[in-house]
Symmetry: C2
Subunit: 309 residues, 2 copies
């Protein structure tokens, strides 16, 4: 079982409107709802690929109940969310049908009480003996200590489990020092961590700070990986035009999927690129088309890269 952790789960709501005009009243023509938060998105992709996956993190209130009802409908996915007295946040994406633009409204996450954070850490430790890998994903809600991921990484490593960390800012900086096996920053997150805007140099620097492997996601340019076994660039076959929502979470899912299948780095990067490109090309945000994914697997270019001077 692959365990994904989402401390800041969400219900992602999408509204379609004719044209969004500030100060006007709008009739929403279509409403869609999905459980969200990065680790939940990763878990959904892993489940679609046929992996057994367990979701943990927090859930609370009426919105949390909706998230759990929807997770229960995903085959292969087990819900191990921990109850919270506060309410799970909603995000509202308002899609303008005229321009295709999306306007995003994100509710603040609920505050986690110390007793709830303790209960989560216990539940997490109880799940690790049956896990094969752990993904720690997304931002920290208020009340969770900034060093939270560092602690969760150490616990997972004490069970001998590989850990992937996908977060940003100070939680990333603290987490890296606890030696996660993989981090997956985007260009901005990597620059904030290392102070370098040169990706090759920055990935190597992030490894020196403690990350076993650094897989930097560079948007349409694909992935740059610095690992113990070597350095690679992986690029998609086409410049995919579409909705980038969920593309980063698909990269995480691809890396974990190939890792737990014991594939070498080039195959892990290939799976990550094929999944993220299939996600960008999918008509529904955050979903991927299996046929497109399998076709793309044969078309990803992975090349070995020399180290920065």
């Amino acid at each position: 079982m692959i365990l994904t952790v989402t401390l800041n789960t969400a219900l992602d709501i999408t509204y379609r409107v004719g044209s969004l005009r500030p100060h006007a009243s709008h009739r929403v023509s279509e409403v869609t709802e999905r459980p969200g938060g990065k680790g939940v998105n990763v878990a959904r992709v892993l489940a679609a690929l046929g992996h057994e996956v367990t979701v943990t993190g927090f859930t609370g209130g009426a919105t949390g109940r909706v998230v759990q009802e929807k997770l229960a409908a995903v085959p292969g996915l087990v819900d191990a969310l921990v109850p919270l007295s506060g309410s799970t946040r909603r995000t509202v994406a308002v899609v303008d049908e005229r321009t295709g633009d999306t306007t995003q409204l994100n509710e603040p996450g609920p505050t986690v009480a110390p007793v709830e954070w303790s209960a989560f850490q216990e539940a997490y430790a109880d799940l690790l003996p049956v896990a094969s890998a752990v993904a720690l994903c997304g931002s920290l809600p208020p009340g969770v200590p900034v060093g939270a991921y560092a602690g969760l990484i150490r616990t997972a490593r004490s069970f001998g489990l590989p850990v992937l960390l996908d977060t940003s800012g100070e939680p990333l900086r603290r987490g890296v020092a606890a030696r996660p096996d993989i981090i997956k920053p985007n260009a901005d997150e990597l620059a904030e961590l290392t102070g370098s805007h040169e990706p090759l140099r920055a990935t190597q620097d992030a490894r020196r700070r403690g990350a076993g492997a650094v897989v930097a996601s560079l948007g349409p340019e694909g992935l740059l990986a610095a690992t113990r076994e070597g350095r690679w660039r992986a690029t998609p076959p086409t410049s995919a035009q579409g909705n980038p929502t969920g593309a980063g979470d698909a990269v995480v899912a691809g890396l974990l999927s190939a890792w737990t299948d014991h594939l070498p780095w080039p195959a892990r990067l290939t799976r990550a690129i094929a999944l993220s490109t299939a996600t960008v090309l999918a008509p529904v945000a955050g979903e991927f088309d299996r046929g497109v994914y399998e076709e793309l697997l044969g078309q990803v270019s992975v090349t070995s890269t020399p180290s920065a001077a």
Copy 2:
């Protein structure tokens, strides 16, 4: 007990954001939620005034459960909503803290199945023997026949109950023909019903179409009432600057409250104006300040008006 009917109930959500910019991502600084729909708003004001009030209409899904949880917390208010297989709609009001402007996003209402409409009509008839007055408020959800209010008015009248109708368009036109005791159109709704943009003429015309009394709400200019007993204009003491959300529902509550207290028309209009002005002046949309309301009661001007030529 006063019975209010809201066939299109809602959960009214308010988001505060720094500044709403289309195509940008926004952190919501404050989230508030209230049960909504016109009849629910009317009932909340009536309960705050000390009346026993029962709310009926439809409720469904996770959002309906939240509406019902919040109604259960209102003292003096009884929830008699009828279950629906579809989900109660949400409305999202996005308040721009920089400009004070509100941008409104309204989900479509759920579709009511014929068997659900029949179940509602039975539940409604069961509530009438213990009611003292009925308010039918708001739009009709998909699936409810356009003549719905006409039928509900006839049923209430068969129990000898006074009925107030507050809706618009074809449901108002059909409803008026069933002879409700009061209708409360705004200027646009009255013009659409009668074809006349001259309020005095239009109120008299609406009475000829079947309404026992017509109380037209003319925004900051107050109310114009055409009744069996006479015609009056009622105006607020000050031009109230504030949020007009819920002001119309406060008028309905004021009319019903004074009516069931057996007060004559000028006192009914006074209560309606004082409540709606206290609602506009309140810091929270749709709420009213009791102290302001009681102070305003002594300051409303009600003058008798001759009939149109």
